[in-house]
Symmetry: none
Subunit: 209 residues, 4 copies
């Protein structure tokens, strides 16, 4: 059910474990993933895994931490008051997630099972993420015709278009017979995001973007 992954050859043991865990947690969720499978995929005995991580839960959090850090950094540096919702930011996020779609699935799993043992992580990660995003949005030029209480909805829309998109990319791709992760598809999604942004927030309808 889980054979040693080829990509993680030269890396350190903890990294191999994190890779294996990330893939399986993303695919099956926390409860659906057996420690034994993570171990097998890392080429280890399950017991060895506990030399590197204290528990399944701790491993899960390490996976999340490692995955979230770059996203956090992208959000951090992107507090610039540029173009509408910061097309550069959207582009970078899209690029990053297209490279590690597991991450998007992990985050969506988190969001779905919210109430449980991970709500703290949501508080720790998602909330500041939204705080920053809100701040960025408010600096955006043309918010004219959105009500203040529609802002969170706009934000969620972007959340869906980025995280939701890549979280469902693989599954939906299979069902629809498409590939949402090819470089071309990623370019298309980036272009799509720009177009959507232009229409939702963008330049005055009479002028150019």
């Amino acid at each position: 059910m889980a054979s040693p992954s080829p990509q993680s050859e030269g890396s350190s043991t903890p990294e191999r474990i994190l890779d294996a865990a990330e893939a399986l947690f993303a695919e099956r969720g926390f409860a659906g993933t057996a420690v034994r499978d993570i171990a097998t995929r890392s080429g280890l005995n399950p017991a060895s895994l506990y030399n590197h991580f204290e528990s399944k839960q701790a491993l899960y959090e390490a996976v999340l931490e490692r995955g979230m850090r770059p996203i956090y950094e992208i959000l951090d540096q992107a507090a610039s008051p540029d173009d509408p919702p910061d097309l550069r930011l959207l582009g970078e996020l899209t690029a990053h997630l297209s490279r590690s779609p597991n991450l998007a699935r992990l985050i969506q799993h988190e969001a779905l099972t919210g109430g449980g043992h991970v709500l703290e992580l949501m508080r720790r990660w998602l909330q500041p993420m939204y705080a920053r995003a809100t701040a960025a949005l408010e600096l955006s030029p043309k918010l004219g015709d959105w009500e203040r209480d529609e802002l969170p909805l706009l934000l969620m829309t972007y959340h869906h278009l980025i995280f939701g998109h890549f979280a469902m990319a693989e599954a939906l791709g299979q069902v629809l017979g498409l590939d949402f992760l090819s470089p071309e598809a990623v370019r298309r999604q980036t272009r799509f995001l720009a177009k959507v942004t232009e229409r939702l927030l963008g330049a005055d309808r009479s002028g150019e973007s």
Copy 2:
């Protein structure tokens, strides 16, 4: 961890089981839900549950079946060549899901764990759903400036704005301190959808909406 739900008092035993299962599957996913907890929440002994459903898997599918039928029907009757992506359809879906947000979470769980023992269900439910929606979209008047290969992206966007929205409503509501399920919030979301639709697909840029 799971006490008998008050709302399902007068209903039949299978319905009480389905209610309990729906809530727990939505909250914790398939793997994260224990049959014993479903039984407890239904006021039953775990063994009794097997008088009504053949297995956990069968119960899960029954939950999905029961939940999906009304959605399927909404989609069915809404193949009318009306206004942009059929605002009435969007409104009905929104209304329905706001009443049973569990369903939205279930569907998103399905979408996330795609590969597994549920892919068949995705094929059975999601694919026709998308087929219908695509058909509906293509009948929409102003698709002028969207490329053909952007259509699935538009579709996904609507999927997110409907299913993703209500799937994350509870969790995100907690984190952001908002209530996305109040009647008022549902009205706002419906209005928001209309606005988004108007901008994405709607009225000629020179005319009115």
Copy 3:
């Protein structure tokens, strides 16, 4: 390592489990006893055991509870201000423990590992036991030449002569090649206790015994 015990045939399942557990806990202590061995000795699958007791710890406490109750009752009814430390009490305790020497070992295990997860039980059982015993002792006629702060030492002496004796009976019996549990040996120990009591607390040195 543990074959179904013959003595516990007709009894109820929980009782069979308690019997098995008592024997093994007495022999090997809490940490040294495997749930699997208790199950085997009860003629059960380890999982079945959890239909009757919540955990190993809970089972252990049930064993202790069941074993302590009769002792507690003996102590209860023996608050009579009779002869020196109530020879009848000593006799009854001796008789009882000689019939279930496991109990004595269990109590000594408890006393030895004191600090741990069982200290609460010690507080619950041993302390009142000592309180009662102290009260009884103080009513004893000839305490003349014992200092007040020697009372606990006298108490401990009796604790040893009763509980310690039967706790070590089997092991020491093997080493010394004697049988401390035969009816005759029990009578001898009872006589011995009376003699010791006579000398330690008993009758005036000049008068009768």
Copy 4:
């Protein structure tokens, strides 16, 4: 759960290990003690421990050996035909055990779990100990009114009053709110032993005390 003990600073590594092991074995018994905890308490990695002792079992036996030697020597040199059961012997044992109460607990653990992998040790240590003690007792002057088959019972009594006393000192002290290990308490126990001996074996009933 086990932090490096302060007292064993300057000592050699094997001694530090023996100290840690003695404390933990005394507290939790053999089965209840994890090699890892011994290592931690010795300030070592579990693996390092195996540079000094072949196995957990070997370490346990080394602890017992080290602890028993002085007792053995005390018993050895005390075969003198002095006063009733050799008050000096009792005093020395009491003094020694009050200084290392762990030892008393260890011995009682041994006595309790008799049947197992330690019975050989009992044979090796306890039996000669009793042999010597018996010899010593028989040289005692006033055994007049004890039957020959009561001798082992007298012996056990002394065993309890010495080993049992210090084995339970800490635990019982906590429950009763007393300190049985303070110098004063040790003096009191010594005095108590003398008094008991006087009454059980001592001076002619008609003469002086």
